[in-house]
């Protein structure tokens, strides 16, 4: 995973709440066994509509997706995060993210920026009005700034997530540093806990 400190660029306003992962990447796309090739599947159904915001050429090349509240609800599919990243986004801004989606973001270095509902609407309105606004998301300072319109706000992120993004750390390596603790834990587990072996026919 690549470390990320600053995401800077234009933003696309996706003015909808409750955008679920079935919309982000429809289930037909989940049949792939690879981790790549999901960019075309991003919002695949909505993209059939020529008026859909991603089809607006003024927003082409944007790095930031600004969405309504409850973003990423529904299915646990990490493919949603892969699709967003492979399309070219490096950060998503929303007043609220679904838990599994947010976790999946961290594992892949996609920055989930949770702002207050008011700041979310202000930013949405600003990028709707001016597609070429430069937005800067700083993961070190936990700030979102749009200097051209004097917009600045902070956002919440737990320290552990921030550390992983800044250092590009993979969790498996970190966990394996505690291999001895895992062994000790296993020695003390209740002996009658089930095992997925020896099924009666």
């Amino acid at each position: 995973m690549k470390a990320v400190r600053i995401v800077q660029g234009r933003a696309v306003p996706l003015d909808r709440s409750d955008v679920d992962t079935d919309q982000i990447i429809p289930s037909d796309w989940l049949k792939r066994v690879e981790r790549t090739g999901f960019d075309e599947g991003l919002f695949a159904t909505w993209r059939d509509d020529p008026d859909f915001i991603l089809n607006n050429k003024n927003y082409r090349g944007a790095k930031i997706l600004v969405a309504g509240t409850n973003f990423g609800t529904g299915s646990s599919r990490e493919h949603a995060v892969w699709a967003i990243q492979q399309y070219g986004f490096e950060a998503v801004v929303s007043p609220r993210f679904a838990d599994i989606f947010r976790n999946n973001c961290t594992k892949n270095g996609l920055v989930a920026v949770q702002v207050s509902p008011d700041c979310g609407s202000d930013l949405m309105a600003a990028v709707q009005a001016a597609p070429d606004l430069q937005v800067t998301i700083d993961v070190t300072q936990l700030t979102v700034k749009v200097p051209a319109i004097k917009f600045a706000t902070t956002y919440k992120m737990d320290v552990a997530t921030q550390r992983r993004l800044l250092e590009g750390l993979g969790d498996i390596e970190l966990t394996l540093q505690h291999a001895n603790d895992i062994v000790t834990y296993e020695q003390n587990r209740r002996h009658w806990l089930p095992r997925s072996v020896s099924f009666p026919e």
Binding site: R16, S17, D18, D20, D22, Q23, P26, S27, D28, L30, K31, R32, V33, E34, R35, T45, G68, T69, N70, T73, G74, S75, S76, R77, E78, H79, V81, R96, F97, A98, D99, I100, N103, N104, K107, N108, D158, V159, A160, D171, I172, L174, T175, L176, H178, D181, I182, Y185, E186, R189, R190, W192, L193, P194, R195, S196, V197, F199, P200, E201
Partner: protein, 471 residues
């Protein structure tokens, strides 16, 4: 130390799985007792293991099944869809290479991952259970912490049998009073989601409590916990009791003999202590719950079957108003229409929410001796090979077939439309599944979530109906 502080049930389970307490705001490291995998969210995890040269720490705590994209007809023939076939074949190679027990299509134990765990007795109180699928919350019905994870986390669990997790908030949802006879567990959970909203549980583990919950069977409890994720919750659980113990007693993987006694003694400690406090508490009057139907494109957009399609303007707050008008447009219905006047094209009885034997029995009781309305396509998809066999032993397929229903092989089927069972654009379904998202059951399809008895009655009437409406 805080040893004697009263704890909620989820805190107790969390604490007994601590491999390492997170220092300096790092997440805790939790041990995982059971890891369920399936063909859709696992291939990239195995690929990751291969690339990094890692093995699986505990194949004996891992179980695989084929459910999401398997066909529900002609399962003795190769899967027609080439990409689906490749995904299933990939899972078969992975379980073979890494030594994991797996139930392929056609195996008597095969089925939807959240149906087979409980019926095999692998889901037990006090455990931590994960799966690359958001409805893992189902297993919480046994008093376990069970939640869905992404593919990177699947790889993490395969490699380490643990997961780093930050402490989750707690929430109590109490359902009081007595449930009217025409209300089911599905109506209870739809009412809960309608009340707290699709984001109401974000960041929290919900404990369902109160007399209505205690009065539910294990099947009903699984239906309730299953949809916790639709309220945004990390997980949902119910304290184990006699109902739980008697369900588990004869299950293949339940503890036996002296182990059983030891387990029961342990499970009896799994409850929220007197005086423990939750971060959030909600109480719902169960005596007011009746048959429910969703009208929109998320499970929180729900009304009583007796009601009408709501007017978006009745939602004072943004974004609910906008989201309601968009939903009505997508669903092709207008505000003020009685739910009972809406005609359906398809009825789907199945999914990890409502495909267990009780669900099928309750639907069969409604259709027995009746005929499906003309032009309505109907599908009954049992949750597992075991459910299917049990239903056959009870003669349910004959009842369904005589009424005009299609009786299928087990799998997720039209719940998410990854296999050939799909809605066509514009088609409307009454579905016992858990998600009415746009396109969930097929591109541009329109889904209304209901209970099994309502689905069955709707199939007969051709419009939304409760069993009591049928002549």
């Amino acid at each position: 130390m805080l040893e004697h502080r009263p704890k909620t049930l989820s805190e107790k389970i969390w604490d007994r799985h601590l491999v390492k307490v997170g220092q300096n705001s790092e997440p805790d490291l939790l041990y995982i007792d059971l890891h369920l995998i399936h063909e859709v969210t696992s291939p990239q995890a195995f690929e990751g293991l291969r690339i990094s040269g890692r093995t699986i720490r505990r194949p004996d705590l891992t179980l695989a099944t084929e459910d999401h994209n398997v066909p529900t007809t002609d399962i003795d023939k190769p899967i027609k869809d080439e990409i689906s076939r490749k995904q299933v074949e990939t899972l078969r190679r992975n379980v073979e290479d890494f030594g994991i027990t797996s139930f392929p299509m056609g195996h008597p134990n095969q089925g939807i991952v959240h149906v087979i765990g409980p019926e095999l007795g692998l889901t037990q109180p006090g455990m931590t259970i994960v799966c690359g699928d958001s409805h893992t919350s189902t297993h919480g019905a046994f008093g376990a912490i069970a939640f869905g994870i992404g593919t990177s986390e699947v790889e993490h669990v395969l490699a380490t049998q643990t997961l780093p997790q930050s402490r989750t908030g707690t929430m109590s949802v109490k359902v009081t009073g007595e449930l009217p006879p025409d209300a089911t567990a599905k109506d209870v959970v739809l009412t809960i989601i309608g009340t707290i909203g699709t984001g109401g549980g974000i960041g929290k583990i919900i404990e369902y409590r109160g007399p209505v919950i205690a009065g539910l069977s294990m099947e009903g409890r699984m239906t309730v916990c299953n949809m916790s994720i639709e309220a945004g919750a990390k997980a949902g659980l119910i304290a184990p009791d006699e109902v739980t113990f008697s369900y588990l007693r004869d299950k293949p993987h339940a503890p036996k003999g002296a182990d059983w006694d030891e387990a029961i003694a342990d499970w009896k400690t799994l409850c929220t202590d007197q005086g423990a406090s939750f971060d959030d508490e909600v109480t719902i009057d169960g005596s007011k719950i009746g048959p429910m139907v969703t009208w929109g494109t998320n499970p929180g957009q729900v009304v009583a079957l007796d009601d009408v399609v709501p007017d978006p303007d009745s939602f004072k707050e943004s974004p609910y108003r906008e989201s309601a008008s968009r939903a009505l447009e997508y669903m092709g219905i207008t505000a003020g229409t009685a739910m009972r006047d809406i005609t359906v094209d398809t009825v789907f009885i199945g999914s990890c929410t409502n495909s267990r034997i009780e669900d099928l029995r309750s639907a069969a009781a409604v259709v027995d001796g009746r005929r499906v309305a003309k032009g309505v396509r109907t599908l009954v998809v049992p949750g597992s090979g075991q459910v299917r066999a049990q239903a056959e032993a009870e003669g349910l397929p004959e009842i369904f077939r005589a009424a005009g229903f299609d009786w299928r092989e087990p799998g997720c089927s039209m719940c998410l439309a990854m296999n050939p069972d799909k809605l066509s654009p514009g088609e409307r379904s009454a579905s016992t599944s858990n998600r009415n998202f746009e396109g969930r059951q097929g591109s541009l399809g329109r889904t209304h979530l209901v209970s099994p008895p309502v689905a069955a009655a709707t199939a007969i009437a051709g419009t939304f109906a409760a069993p009591a409406d049928l002549a």
